[in-house]
Symmetry: C2
Subunit: 439 residues, 2 copies
Amino acid sequence: MSERCSLVLCCGSLLTLSLLTQMLVVHKYGGTSMGSIERIKSVAERVAKWHRAGHKVVVVPSAMSGETNRLLGLAKEVSANADPRELDQIASTGEQVSVGLLAIALQSLGVKSRSYTGWQAGIKTDSAFTKARISEINGDMLLKALDGGEVPIVTGFQGIDPDGNITTLGRGGSDTQAVAVAAAIKADECLIYTDVDAIYTTDPRVEPDAKPLKVISFEEMFELASLGSKVLQIRSVEFAGKYKVPTRVLSSFTDADIPIEVEAKSGTLITFEEDEKMEQAVVSGIAFNRDEAKITIRGVPDQPGVAYKIIGPVGDANVDIDMIVQNIGEKGTTDFSFTVHRNEFRKAMDVLNNQVKGAIGAKEVVGDDKVCKVSIVGIGMRSHVGIAAKMFKALADENINIQMITTSEIKTSVLVDDKYMELAVRALHRAFELDKVGA
Amino acid sequence: MSERCSLVLCCGSLLTLSLLTQMLVVHKYGGTSMGSIERIKSVAERVAKWHRAGHKVVVVPSAMSGETNRLLGLAKEVSANADPRELDQIASTGEQVSVGLLAIALQSLGVKSRSYTGWQAGIKTDSAFTKARISEINGDMLLKALDGGEVPIVTGFQGIDPDGNITTLGRGGSDTQAVAVAAAIKADECLIYTDVDAIYTTDPRVEPDAKPLKVISFEEMFELASLGSKVLQIRSVEFAGKYKVPTRVLSSFTDADIPIEVEAKSGTLITFEEDEKMEQAVVSGIAFNRDEAKITIRGVPDQPGVAYKIIGPVGDANVDIDMIVQNIGEKGTTDFSFTVHRNEFRKAMDVLNNQVKGAIGAKEVVGDDKVCKVSIVGIGMRSHVGIAAKMFKALADENINIQMITTSEIKTSVLVDDKYMELAVRALHRAFELDKVGA
């Protein structure tokens, strides 16, 4: 049997030793990593290296980059309102091609390998076409293939519903599939190979001193994904959390022949263990989102049910709402503010002006689409007081005005003027000493 | 229930009447007919027309033209010796995309439609990847879909083997699949829509007076397919014969809105009925094949087993042999001649010179790759004497020397010098009065 190995928590010498034991892992490769025949061959070399070292590997590759868009583009040319079942029938072929190509590439390296579609691998989903949810994965078939010395390649992003229809999990579903496969076979680790080399304390394009995190808690990763980090799809993080699958984000653009010992501890591990030895950072990272727009309704009569009367029509117009803040106002009225995606700002403003303002007797509707959200995320916030205060002080020191605040157990978000975004991120990065992570 | 309707055998007034009864038909569309989104929409319009007229239609489309080659090209880039199982996993996606697109196109015309992969439609095959044979089709699911007012779209060219692997039927397998589906649901007719508008008495590019045949017998069609006619894949003709599926070859490039009455009697019907009223042509068509090369071994000792000693090594070298003729020679020796595909001429010559000639004590090996085969095909030959003689006379009148002759019950083939091919085809077309067919 393989043995669980929480790499980054071990000291160096233990690390090398533990790696000599056989691991059961899932490798997931994104569309960019599968972007050309050359890259597919390079993925095959990386997988072959793990296989030859005695590890058991299941691979979940995405479609070649651009392929899913090409396929859905064809469908859109036929009809703008295509049947979601047929879209899934079509879009699922992108992954089917890439698993076949990767199996061939592995075989030509002398590795026994075989490709499986979602339904062949026993991945069952509900019938919500184009955004199906995995209901069950029977890992027996994959485990049997592994016992036979095979490297099974499983399509990402898809499964089969109770009526035998092909379903897809929606964009980013390959991450979720990989984590779900890892859960089904009780893998020691799910390795998500991607075009970034780690989760960073913040976006290095904004803060050059951003540092890669060796380890991040599941809860923090979940908040980061919710805040719009594109590295991992939020549902894959949910799945990892639900089934406690240790999941690692690492780069597929390192040389395929770097030693496994090095590769296996690279990137960022999303962990479920609260290790004593792990020095718990109070704040792990700074997230930000430029896609926000703020809307305020002033002079709203302060009565029960008024929040619903404002938010209801906006939701009916298919506009998602992010932050919501209601302040106590004066003379029996209140101000009600919320944020929406910047693309939906005009739509939301129209709904409020035409359907809501008069109906509830509000004074005015004002909006601003030049705002952004900056958040600090850290599991240490649970046990440390004064973190929010430190955040507000850091921003005040830079004369950055805070327009809205929301908090959760391990996250504090503020809305600030768009033009201060970089400044705010850098100030917070420095204030929480994230430039010293890993030093 | 639908009612069998042998259209071309009816007179005009009966024809219109019988078409008013509901028919159960399979439509098959080739890659060219599915070559672009515009063409797919045009196919949908044609199918919708049949559906709206009250007929039950199952559609079997090919992959979009060029798509199967593109997919196999990708696999070839990865490895020249790709695993056939993986090739099928990859190549089968071409049809999966086109069934989805066609279902969407039908839905956007207001027709209830749904796509099915080979395995979803219950098409079982053996495990001979890339050239699997259909072992069973359970038509229940398709019949149920039809009863629900649906137009089921089934992938051509593929099925599932007993272990749940995706298989493909090999090139041209969509024709076979269509005929097999028609057999499984006991369709009244299988309509093969293609880029030619009928089976002709001979190739119109060689003989401008070639005439389209309204009807051809299964046996004749089988011989034509064996002789290299590209219109129908030989295995689809075999299948049609085995299950007695009336199969019609017709054009998909007529206007989609021509009346069903006209469309349903267009093209050529391959029939199993020997109708009294059908004026039986003695010879139905002239076939020819330019890909032949002739090899003769002279002075072969006339002993039992010598044919095997010659043909055996050639077959071992994977060279297919077509015509074989052995003449009585003089002084206890014989001449042995056969034909091979022109591309394999050099390979076969090498085998004979290096492995066979010395071993059997033959005098010499001579070859000629400037030959072609011309054949007359006709079910009437069974009951008419002197047909071969008439053929030989027609060729003699044109001073065309016959190099080899082979015959079957309904076919006579001759090998002649390449340069006489057009002349021979035209002389035979005239001699058997094929220019007067349908007049």
